[in-house]
């Protein structure tokens, strides 16, 4: 058994897949344009030809950053091409932000390079089967390339922009046409990756001149010029999404203040019009760090390629998302993410609405925009996002909502839990003392204790100028969020006048914001990924198991022969044999009968099979062959025939922590008899006296023995079976025992006594069954046996004579 378990564990460990040996990687620099050399790595899988995957890296890094992912897709049977985008790492050329004539042209060349490899599977001679996956900068490249080059058969774009104007100058209201406030910290962080690569290259670094100029102008003017808007639009997938025919998986992170979830929702909605497959994933990561779900995402991406490049039949839900606070870790009680899916995306979510309290929110914008609220901490990774998930503790203080500079439009306490997945909106009237307003809206939940949960610190900024004195009415598109609110919480729209990540007005003003509509939020029917079988599957299985278990125990119950014998004898033992599992033959072919009123001695030396016979008589062990009948009824475990039997076998058995009386009482109540228990008679016979009320633990051997015999006699059964009742008793007690047995037999009942002390039994018994090594030697009335051999005067001598010298030299009887 132990070995089997060890083998099982070992084979389980052996089943864990080990990474394949590093297969071939071909490094090559490819000239894609004059003065542009692209540094590439081609990963070849074991089985070829295979479909190819283009794997793009993010802004400011190189092909090395995606090496691990490349190996993963390679190990799963794809040719993988990674490269360093122009202007980064070892690739030459200038960074032009995925311009059609720049990076996207490079990618077309790279696809042509794949055509030269016979290892790459092709649809036709110039058209390889190729997928494209990338994140952020690489994600935009995936969308833009899929639009520009029809040879791409499947695309996956992670954490990227839909429109760079909206991402960098976000304006969260369709009622406003001017650009929103400048997202200066993120933009600066982003561009510094390009401009600060090498100080020797000058202030613009490897960044193309027009981009460098546009960035400078935006920082200085705090708003984009018409020319810059055109430039940003030229590298935005929003303009070309209608061109994409390849199945596209759009993926976005919740912890992303640079490219928030709304960007992906716009991309997804636009792609849906193209009549090709499109799915959406909202995972726990993003540019702010968040929850690392790389492993989960890789599997989803691989599924996408397996389905659309390899034609595998995989069902991929339209929408998958992660609740980053889905459940609590079983190991250290920290929060762990949980994945859900749905057949529809948030663009088709059910819109619910909840009334907000009519109280207007009043707040001030400080001079110079200082101090500023901190909703998220751009670019500092996971530390920032953890701080941003639950922005305030019990006290209600939150760095995202500074006193006097922020306000809330709140709902009443929720009567029902709410689970929001997707965008929300609200119509408000804004009045401003300066006629201008820059405001940061967010959707949040407030607990009864005042704690604020602002999902991932993502805000929806608006910037308005020319507000009339009576205020301006606009509908604000709040950030897409995944937010759970409990009963007793309230939903709220949080409004802050400042945010450190944005360019803020220098002039002070006072705002009053009033809710004009209920808050509209998205709810969806979602299914937990882990519970894909529905929650009733397992409980049904449990119920089924219960039924099967009942059936199993019923059908596999031992069958007992209900055969009858005539009732002439109280006990009939017929051809009884018992062979133990180890092959030891304890009883062989034993037959004898006991009539009513007899005192039968079952005699023989130790190991003769006496106890085994008695145990079979009690239904404790199963005969290998033969049967025992009592009053003509077969004996088996639980047989009603046993109800006429009182027994004492191989020593007493009591609950040591209870008194003798309690033991007898509990025994009587346990055995299902309804008649008279004859306690007084039994106690008189066995002479237990006052010891009866002491704990059995304190009893002497003799006392226990007598208590056990009293227990056997309770109810005065027709047959009393006693196994070695005199064992461990002193001579005086043995004499007393003899009296006890005779007293019992006097009542006309039957007693079977086993003993190895033949002389002792001679004085008690009327009949004898002599056994040796499992065999019957002699059986009959005592007198008859004693007179059979006139020379012998005791049972002992007769016994020795009957078995010859076998007892002495240990020879087996054959």
């Amino acid at each position: 058994m132990k070995i089997r378990v060890a083998l099982l564990v070992f084979s389980l460990l052996a089943a864990i897949p080990m990474p394949a040996n590093a297969a071939e990687v071909i490094e090559k620099s490819i000239k894609t344009a004059p003065g542009v050399l692209i540094d590439t790595s081609l990963f070849l899988p074991e089985v070829m030809p295979a479909p190819a995957i283009l794997l793009a890296h993010g802004f400011g890094s190189s092909k090395e950053a995606v090496k691990e992912s490349a190996q993963y897709y390679r190990d799963n049977g794809y040719v993988v091409l990674t490269w360093t985008a122009r202007g980064f790492g070892k690739s030459s050329g200038q960074i032009s932000m995925n311009a059609a004539q720049g990076e996207i042209a490079d990618i077309k060349e790279l696809i042509s390079y794949l055509v030269t490899w016979k290892e790459v599977k092709k649809e036709s001679s110039a058209n390889p089967i190729v997928g494209f996956v990338g994140a952020s900068y690489g994600g935009a490249a995936a969308l833009l390339s899929a639009a520009a080059d029809k040879r791409i058969d499947a695309a996956i774009a992670d954490i990227t922009w839909n429109n760079l104007n909206q991402a960098l100058f976000p304006q969260s209201s369709k009622d406003l046409s001017e650009p929103g406030p400048f997202k200066k910290v993120w933009t600066g962080t982003f561009f510094s990756l390009a401009t600060l690569q090498n100080a020797a290259l000058g202030e613009c670094g490897a960044l193309a001149a027009q981009w460098c100029a546009a960035y400078k102008s935006a920082v200085i003017n705090r708003r984009p010029s018409a020319q810059e808007i055109t430039l940003l639009n030229s590298v935005s997938p929003s303009a070309v999404l209608s061109e994409i025919s390849a199945p596209t998986l759009v993926s976005q992170g919740q912890s992303d203040s640079l490219f928030p979830l709304n960007e992906s929702l716009k991309t997804f909605t636009a792609l849906k019009k193209n009549n090709s497959a499109v799915s959406l994933i909202w995972h726990g990561g993003g540019h702010d760090g968040g929850t690392n779900e790389d492993e989960y995402l890789r599997v989803q991406y691989l599924n996408w390629f397996d389905k659309y490049l390899n034609g595998k039949d995989i069902s991929i839900p339209t929408f998958q998302f992660t609740k980053t606070n889905g459940s609590i870790s079983l190991q250290d009680s920290t929060v762990i993410p949980k994945n859900f899916f749905s057949t529809t995306a948030p663009d088709q979510a059910t819109i619910n609405s909840i009334d907000l309290l009519p109280k207007p929110a009043l707040m001030a914008h400080p001079i110079g925009g200082i101090p500023s609220a901190i909703s998220s901490l751009p670019g500092i990774g996971s530390a920032g996002s953890v701080a941003a998930t639950v922005v305030s503790g019990i006290s209600g203080f939150s760095p995202a909502f500074l006193a006097g500079q922020s306000g809330f439009l709140e709902s009443a306490k929720l009567q029902k839990a709410v689970s929001i997945v997707g965008p929300s909106r609200i119509k408000v009237r804004i009045t401003s003392s300066s006629g201008e307003a820059t405001l940061f809206f967010s959707l949040l939940s407030k607990s009864a204790s005042g704690a604020i949960t602002q999902p991932n610190g993502v805000v929806a900024p608006i910037k308005i100028s020319g507000i009339p004195a009576g205020g301006r009415e606009i509908t604000v598109e709040l950030p897409s969020v995944i937010l759970d609110a409990a009963v007793g919480d309230s939903l709220a729209v949080g409004i802050s006048t400042t945010d450190q990540g944005y360019e803020l007005p220098k002039t002070p003003s006072l705002y009053s914001i009033t809710a004009l509509s209920p808050l509209e939020y998205s709810v969806m029917d979602v299914v937990s990924v882990t519970g894909s079988g529905g929650i009733w599957l397992w409980p049904s299985l449990a119920l089924l198991t219960l039924i099967v278990a009942f059936a199993f125990t019923y059908l596999r119950r031992p069958r007992h022969s209900e055969s009858q014998r005539d009732e002439d004898f109280l006990v009939q033992v017929e051809n009884l044999s018992k062979v133990y599992k180890d092959g030891y033959k304890a009883v062989e072919n034993l037959s004898f009968t006991v009539s009513r009123g007899q005192v039968v001695g079952l005699l023989g030396p130790n190991g003769a099979g006496k106890t085994t016979t008695l145990r079979m008589m009690m239904g404790l062990i199963f005969p290998t062959e033969g049967a025992i009948y009592m009053d003509g009824k077969a004996v088996y475990p639980g047989s009603p025939a046993l109800a006429n039997l009182g027994s004492f076998v191989e020593g007493p058995g009591f609950l040591p922590h209870l008194t003798g009386r309690e033991n007898l009482d509990l025994y009587w109540r346990s055995i299902g008899r309804t008649g008279e228990k004859y306690l007084d008679e039994v106690l008189t016979i066995t002479k237990l006296g006052t010891a009866l009320d002491k704990k059995v633990r304190s009893y002497s051997q003799g006392m226990r023995q007598r208590l056990a015999i009293a227990q056997a006699m309770m109810g005065m059964p027709d047959l009393l079976v006693l196994d070695e009742p005199t064992n461990g008793l002193d001579p005086q007690q043995i004499a007393e025992m003899r009296v006890v047995l005779k007293e019992y037999a006097k009542t006309g009942r039957t007693v079977i006594v086993s003993s190895h002390l033949l002389a002792e039994v001679q004085q008690t018994c009327s009949h004898v069954v002599l056994m040796h090594r499992g065999h019957l030697i002699a059986f009959g009335p005592m007198k008859k046996i004693l007179t059979k051999n006139r020379q012998a005067r005791s049972l002992e001598e007769i016994f020795l004579e009957l078995i010859g010298d076998d007892l002495v030299i240990g020879k087996a009887i054959t």
Binding site: V9, A15, G326, S327, I328, L330, Q331, D332, S333, V335, K338, V390, S419, S447, A448, D484, A485, A486, V487, G488, D489, S528, T530, G531, W538, P539, L541, A542, T545, L546, A549, F552, T553, R556, R557, P558, Y580, R615, M618, L620, I621, P637, G638, P640, L642, A643, V649, E650, G651, P652, G653, F654, L655, H657, L666, S670, I671, G672, T674, G675
Partner: protein, 282 residues
Amino acid sequence: MSYVVGKTLPYHVELYRQLKRKRTAFAYGFVLSLPILVALAVKFGPSGDDDEPSEFGSGATDIIGLATLGAANFTTTMLFFSTPFLLVTVVALFNGDTVASEASWSTLRYLLASPVPRTRLLIQKMKVSLTLSLIAVLLVPLSSWIVGAIAFGVAPLQTPLGVTFDNSLTFTRLAIMTVYLALSLLFVAGLAFYLSVRTDAPLGAVGGAVGISILLTILDAISALGSLRQWLPVHYADTWLDALSTTIDWSQMAKGASYCAISGILFYALAINKFAKKDITS
């Protein structure tokens, strides 16, 4: 004298026989002492290192950090503490000891020969040991709540997910957790009961069940085993934590409770099957 099968080893007699035992009192004593000792330690013990991430009652947003907010949070923490070992041991004791101790006292053969039919004996024993186990499981939240209320006052349940429940929801959630916990312990209960039928040594049955449970818990902690771990019943020991989510995702709890119940039922069925055919030699 007449003999009625339905009156052999009645439930209340077996319950009385078990309740009179010291080990029953000791087991309940252990269960009751946990919240009291923890509350005393937190109230009067020296305060620990502040840098510790999960300092008891530190206010850190995890189960242990929130323990001292009030009775409800204290109860959750006590459930968290008692799940992996305390309740496993107590349940293994009640179910593993029940038949094996009768064998070791030699009372088993007298009950069977009296005769209590074998399957009936096991079913009566099973009912009683499950009753005792359920009492132990209920004692944890009840005593913890009372102790928590005295030591830290009554406050709504605040979860590590940053949500505060109102009173009625708090009680519903605590009830859900307790019910799940009770169901998830069926695996240990069934295993211990099966071992109890297989051996005459009470310690062997109880120790065996606890040992196997610990072994499986260790296997469950080996992340290299990946998704194979979902087939270990102990994998679902702490899944009641799902009841702390704002909206409960029942899938894991339904699976975990069912899986533990299934494995428990199988062990009980095997025990009955085995016992029906066993030679009683104790």
